[in-house]
Amino acid sequence: MIPAARPRLPALAAALALLLLALPFAGLAIATDWRHFGFAQGDGGAVAVSLGLSLVALLLIVVLGTPLAWWLARHRVRGQWLVDALLLLALLTPPLAMGLLLATMYGPYGPAGQLLERAGLLLTNSAPAFVMAQFYAALPYYVLAARAAFEGVPRELEQIALTLGHSPARSFFHVSLPLARLGLAAAVALAWVRALGEFGVVLIVAYYPQGIPVKLWTNLQDVGLSAVYPLLWVFFLVALPLPLALGLAVRRRLA
């Protein structure tokens, strides 16, 4: 029997692509000085700032983004394209540009910034400013992913829940939410990574308090590459387990 000819070229190209993907991570493992593994001054504070404030941002994103995602998944209104365009605009705006836009609106001389400052809320170089930067950076990603998750829930099941005497709210919590849970979890994971890793927007409106990304930058500037590795490991450890697990779970579900 003649063995089926295996296409060699695509297999080689795929192997090369995988190798290229793996190289930077291997580089980190090799470059880290494990014997003298130690944090720079202020690294602990940066981790605390990043984790604490990212959680607050994530909470805000989920609370405000979920109803919007559901509404977008379930309703068609005149001028819908404007809403879609706005979401895409927020998604596609480069982080630095978004930071500048936020500074313009919420900065000390911005119209919203002045109003909020009078109310005692300072949105420059403050914890609320940090949360705001992460909120703007991650919200569009969350909304688009959560919308796709809700769109995957058969509308008929929500309607059946209504015909069985349930209110729309009960139908949402007992049917839509559980059936969209995997997609919503992926959306949360995506928002978490985006918020935690956000650098450009944060740099402009909240250089202080310093979270992990800005601290990595200052360590690099002040000391050099070797000073970023310990914090980089922490970043991977806190940012990636949730999205990785969910990504693999989704792949398994699709398989």
């Binding site: 015909t163 069985l164 209110s167």
Partner: protein, 327 residues
């Protein structure tokens, strides 16, 4: 229960008929039958009785859509309990499952149940809602042909036992056969309603005859006054003997039962027969039918058990066997 509904969108439709026991609304695909059910359930804006103006959560209907729409994240008893409230909901759900003979499968998810079992869970869930009217959308469409009749018999027995009027919409003539009351819909309106035996005996039009699954419904034109009439069958370019009270020149739908079509060997055919070729043979438990090509038309004829299948044949349609409806 009287159903009287008018729908404006997405298509204009109005329907008024009685639902009594297990009532089947028979209509072709695209007539808006499912739309009517959804309107009664309150899922589509419409006005009419029963339930006029009530929000859909307060309409006492048990709605079973096509495919049953069980909640995939809940097991069988949880699906039934979804329609129930209070601390006893699990026990009540189990009682409903017991009633449809599925108590032992209570812990199974919908994906682990057969089509017939899913339908019974959906029925138990709909009944648990304590509806005043059951609405079933194409209840035979998701069933395996081998077990369909048994599943259907159980479904109807359960509907009768529950004592709730049920409206099933379908395009399946087999379902019409088991109805307590039959309603026919054509061109988005009700064209006939009554007991199944009456409706089958006297369909009001060719469209109604087609809906009932009658074969050989053809278009034609009557030529000549009553008493000396012939039927022009344009698709076969043939004349047929006919005896009706309809006026000369009437366009008609006409029908002949396959059992009444007479088959002859071409060499022995009497004058006035129509030449036909055999396209298909359909052999079933109840005998053999031949699909004959007559010009552009297809005519079905029953092949007597003692006859062998011919390659070509000549057919004759007796005047007394032809039913005509003006169009």
């Amino acid at each position: 229960m009287r159903v009287d509904y008018r729908i404006e969108r997405p298509v204009a439709l109005s329907a008024r008929f009685e639902v009594d026991g297990f009532t089947v609304l028979l209509g072709a695909s695209g007539e808006g039958k499912s739309l009517l059910l959804r309107a009664i359930a309150g899922l589509v804006p419409a006005c009419g009785e029963p339930f006029d103006g009530l929000p859909l959560q307060r309409r006492a209907v048990g709605y079973l859509p096509q495919g049953h729409a069980l909640f995939p994240h809940l097991n069988a008893w949880q699906n039934v309990a979804f329609a129930l409230r209070g601390p006893q909901r699990r026990a009540e759900a189990m009682a409903w499952l017991e009633r449809v003979g599925l108590a032992e499968l209570a812990e199974r998810r919908p994906a682990q149940l057969s089509g017939g079992q899913q339908q019974r869970v959906a029925l138990a869930r709909a009944l648990a809602r304590k509806p005043k009217l059951l609405l079933l959308d194409e209840p035979t469409s998701a069933l395996d042909p081998a077990t369909r009749d048994d599943v259907l018999a159980e479904l109807i027995a359960e509907v009768h036992a529950a004592g709730i009027p049920a409206l099933a919409v379908s395009h399946d003539p087999a379902l019409a056969g088991v109805a307590d009351r039959l309603v026919l819909m054509h061109d988005r309106r009700i064209v006939q309603a009554g007991m199944p035996a009456e409706v089958h005996a006297r369909p009001v039009s060719g469209a109604a005859a087609r809906l009932l699954g009658l074969r050989n419904v053809q278009r034609g034109r009557l030529v000549g006054a009553p008493g000396a009439q012939r039927l022009w069958w344009p698709d076969a370019e043939a004349w047929l003997p006919v005896d009706t009270g309809l006026a000369d020149g009437s366009e008609v739908d006409w029908q002949v039962a396959p059992e009444s079509v007479e088959l002859y060997e071409p060499a022995m055919a009497p004058a006035g027969t129509i030449a036909a070729s055999v396209e298909v043979r359909q052999t079933g438990a109840h005998g053999c039918h031949l699909g004959l090509r007559c010009g552009r038309a297809r005519l079905w004829a029953a092949l007597p058990r003692d006859r062998t299948m011919p390659a070509t044949a000549c057919v004759q349609v007796p005047a007394v066997a032809i039913r005509c409806w003006p169009v």
